[in-house]
Symmetry: none
Subunit: 252 residues, 2 copies
DNA sequence: CAGTGGTCTAGACCACTCC
DNA sequence: GAGTGGTCTAGACCACTGC
């Protein structure tokens, strides 16, 4: 199949842009439209270059952009893959409690949803979520437990679109992992996230939910999650006992 | 002038690395050595490519790495310039204090070395540093300040080889950044690092150095730094006021 | 082994900046 | 107009993966 660079889709990128940037747009389109499924490989670079009628280097530049953005991942000798959602379990290997029997990094903590409702987003939240037009959103409050007692308290904000359908579901239907749930119910794939780690003390209400003393020191993780298209789709604040907190990072 | 890729300097990067990565090392060397001054343009890409006897694309890949790292900045039609604030502190952008006047992520904190001596490495430290044969090492204690007061306390362990030469130097000769210093004095390039973040409270001795109360909550960052060859070359524990601590992470 | 991405070449022309 | 970086081509060969 030969796909002309100028006629691949209804959305033709600005012709004045460099070819590799237009290619990036067209490839991103095919990914977000679901033509290439998350977790699977896209066609080989030589094949795609031939299909679009561009040189290999140009195609590679376009793919490179999507790799930098986190939409694609290259695997030398194997192929180029559409990123599936961040396995939340794998994200949790960075956030584990130390010195405990439940050290198992793959363990998925049990989730209990205490609150779920539509809310008006504060201006800063609205901006974070890119929900420019609508100031409406969804707020979720849940605790997560590794054993019996609650260890983590999470406050989660979502834009009303495309998550509105979640409001109609029973809280027990959510399961312990949200990102696969987002994908199944709302067709949103979380591709990457940005976290900010800080330190604070528990407010009275939060302390009650965690069964800890007001003012107890906690680690505070603020996470913004992004879709394959690069749009912010979730903001969450996680709190947990500071002295049990442990977080690993690889630099460069 | 023609400079052979293989004979440009006494420090020849590993020949097994791709050409553009070796080029990057050699260009970085000329920048850090001061041959090209901060704020000024380096030679044109065509000129450098000819000098090193490589294709333009290869030279551009090498420059691209240094641009990504923030050491160089391209200006279309004007040239490629050495960044003024030679922010070798790229590793420090992950560890910044919030809500303060010295928010500038590129600011390099002032360093004061309080202790520097040869020590026997505890077994776990010896293992971390891969100093299997020799159990001897170097211990360094220093504080770092963004303004006048000390903000961070760092305990640093190094294997005796190849850092032995540091013991003969005056403490004031160390400067504010250790990694460039390691490279200049000991020919060790820190290529990547692994960090573990946690929280704790200040011991009495440490509290005195930070001029804070014993038991004050602190963020604790344990970092293992690795050389280009992948060998662990430094282990350091950094402590700082938990309430000022802020750490950003990108997850993909 | 075939197929994939990774590196590299030696050109070409375009877009931008400054004189 | 001269010099710079930006884009693009059409090849070549290497390194890695999996059968």
């Amino acid at each position: 199949m030969k796909t002309e660079l100028s006629a691949v889709s209804a959305k033709v990128p600005d012709q004045r842009l460099p070819r590799y940037q237009r290619l990036r747009e067209m490839l991103a389109e095919r990914i977000t439209q679901g033509e290439w499924a998350p977790g699977l490989a896209i066609p080989a670079e030589t094949e795609l270059a031939a299909e679009y009628g561009v040189a290999l280097g140009t195609l590679r530049s376009a793919v490179g952009l999507l790799v930098d953005e986190g939409m694609l991942a290259r695997a030398h000798g194997k192929g180029t893959f559409v990123r599936s959602e961040l396995a939340q379990a794998s994200m949790f290997r960075f956030f584990r409690f130390r010195g405990q029997a439940h050290q198992d990094a793959t363990a998925i903590p049990k989730s209990i949803i205490h609150d779920l409702r539509e809310v008006a987003l504060a201006p800063d939240l609205s901006e974070r979520l890119g929900a420019g037009r609508s100031r409406r959103g969804i707020f979720m409050l849940r605790t997560r437990s590794f054993t019996d007692a609650p260890h983590l308290l999470e406050k989660i904000w979502l834009p009303l679109q495309p998550f509105k359908t979640l409001l109609r579901l029973d809280r027990t239907a959510f399961g312990d992992l949200l990102y696969p749930f987002y994908r199944e119910r709302c067709n949103v794939v979380v591709a990457r996230a940005s976290e900010e780690i800080g330190f604070g003390t528990l407010a009275q209400k939060d302390a009650a939910l965690l069964r800890m003393a007001t003012g107890h020191p906690v680690a505070v993780i603020e996470r913004t999650a992004f879709s394959l298209a690069g749009e912010p789709v979730e903001f969450r604040i996680t709190q947990g006992d500071a002295y049990c907190f442990h977080y690993g990072v690889e630099i460069k």
